[in-house]
Symmetry: C3
Subunit: 223 residues, 3 copies
């Protein structure tokens, strides 16, 4: 990895630690959705692993890192499996599962938009392109989770600012990297800001605007 | 790009212009479907960008061009975003959105089957393989759009010849490339033919045959 | 391919033959689902080809073999097309289509978990990583088939041990490769074991355990 952009050892360690926490959080969200959809233990494990590793696999395919790290370091899948086992034995009632699912997902989202941007930048992408790939990394696992489970992806229809925190977190990270100000602390702040913004939007029900219906009577037409 | 097959500057310019128009057309189709599904402004932007760039990203991953051009030239995402903004502020009533969606999609389909085949051929694939990848490029964005939005992909169930125009357009393009007859004009003709065939099939309701039901009483059984 | 791990010519021939049979079996399963969903002849062909080649394309993108073999050797798509034509003209009544679909899928699953693991190992992955990619190769085509057709993927919700036979078949194959005991016969046995286990689970209705509902009254809550 001698041709990669160097971050310094503290930032590298934070990057690794962040990825592990993000994988665990996304694994929880996948397992929770699997329980809500009443899948069996195998379905819970599969959805947990796919959610936790999916964003990173997409990121690695895009930057040409093959095989993707999730296939080389099986500890990522192991952490997701651990999340699945936890949720299998202990999970909230199905009717209130939405909140912990969204909180776990928010943590993964906020972490991956930072670490995804950093990895893309390290592999030589421009700051702007790295931010774009950071967003894709952050939302990718959740999109795979939702499509596999047959629910509309949060990134499209959540109604409570899902992509925007990821975009701001990625843009902040890319700006820090571009100006050489990315450190353990500033990167952590960008991630915490993204997680926080998503959670505030979630609990205060901040909605992005809808397209105006063309005519009044159009409001209730069938889709 | 010195090892790429050369087309001549006029054909190269047409290739670039075609891709921009195709991206805009697919962006419109994604934004229109997002409005029909009542997604908010973020969902409209995300579905527009995913539809417009998805086919090209698949094409680039298949030919090993990493990072895919959509991540390097963010102008593609910008054009899709422009389409999303237009549709957000001005869109037809939801109950008649199907027709403009299909027309925009037909334009993207016809252009991408040509430009996708050309790019694959330039990267060293055989004419036959390039035609296959051209079809995948043309239908890929629409498949991503439909799967994300939770509707059955047009390529499977449209009922009015969707994949066939793309296949004919790609095959014509590959034949032109194979015999050294691909130019600005012949390529444009292949694309226009594919768009035209799709539109005629759409408005004259040309249907491909269904598999014969095995027995009469099978017709109304539950699926 | 001089830097690939050598298996011996008999095992290589078995690998090729196995892949062709697996492609045909998955092609049948895709075509059968398309008939069940009442897609037209184009939809049947597209779903057959996507199911038959999807797992291999994912495998090749992960190991960095671009373009994926399915785009280079169009005989794979041709075999899937043959399966589609067969099913178009001759298929069981829609109400009993589930069983032949599951049997065809089981054959593809059992073969691809072996051949996918072997290919990954030949391309330099560790035995453990190769087993992981073997599972993804085996379940990938079916996931693409089910997501495109709008049904919940078998790997998540089948209820009758779907991923487990693939995992055991891949693990057995990886163990054989690691200890240099992979041959025509031992590989065939691993594949036959995976197919057999899946079929027994299917017909004896072996179910993996569900997550325990948190409270009794939670059982019938809406999802």
């Amino acid at each position: 990895m001698s041709d990669l952009v160097e971050l310094g050892s503290a930032a590298d360690a934070a990057q690794s630690a962040g990825n592990l926490v993000g994988v665990f959080a996304f694994g929880l969200s996948g397992a929770l959705l699997a329980v809500r959809r009443r899948f069996d233990v195998v379905g819970i494990a599969v959805l947990s692993i796919a959610t936790a590793t999916g964003g990173g696999v997409i990121r690695d395919l895009v930057i040409g890192r093959t095989p993707p790290v999730a296939f080389v370091q099986l500890s990522y899948a192991g952490i997701a499996l651990l999340a699945a086992v936890l949720i299998f034995f202990w999970h909230p009632p199905v009717r209130v599962i939405r909140t912990p699912l969204n909180v776990a997902d928010a943590i993964g989202l906020g972490i991956f938009c930072v670490t995804g941007t950093v990895t893309a930048f390290q592999y030589g992408m421009s700051a702007t392109s790295a931010a774009a790939l950071g967003v894709v990394t952050a939302v990718g696992g959740g999109v795979i989770r939702d499509v596999l489970a047959g629910v509309t992806p949060s990134v499209l229809s959540d109604g409570e600012l899902y992509a925007v925190p990821a975009l701001l977190g990625s843009a902040a990270t890319a700006t820090l990297l571009h100006y050489g100000q990315y450190t353990y602390w500033t990167g952590g702040l960008a991630g915490a800001g993204a997680v926080g913004l998503r959670l505030v939007a979630l609990f205060r029900h901040w909605h992005a605007p809808m397209a105006r219906p063309h005519r009044r009577r159009d409001d209730n037409s069938s889709v």
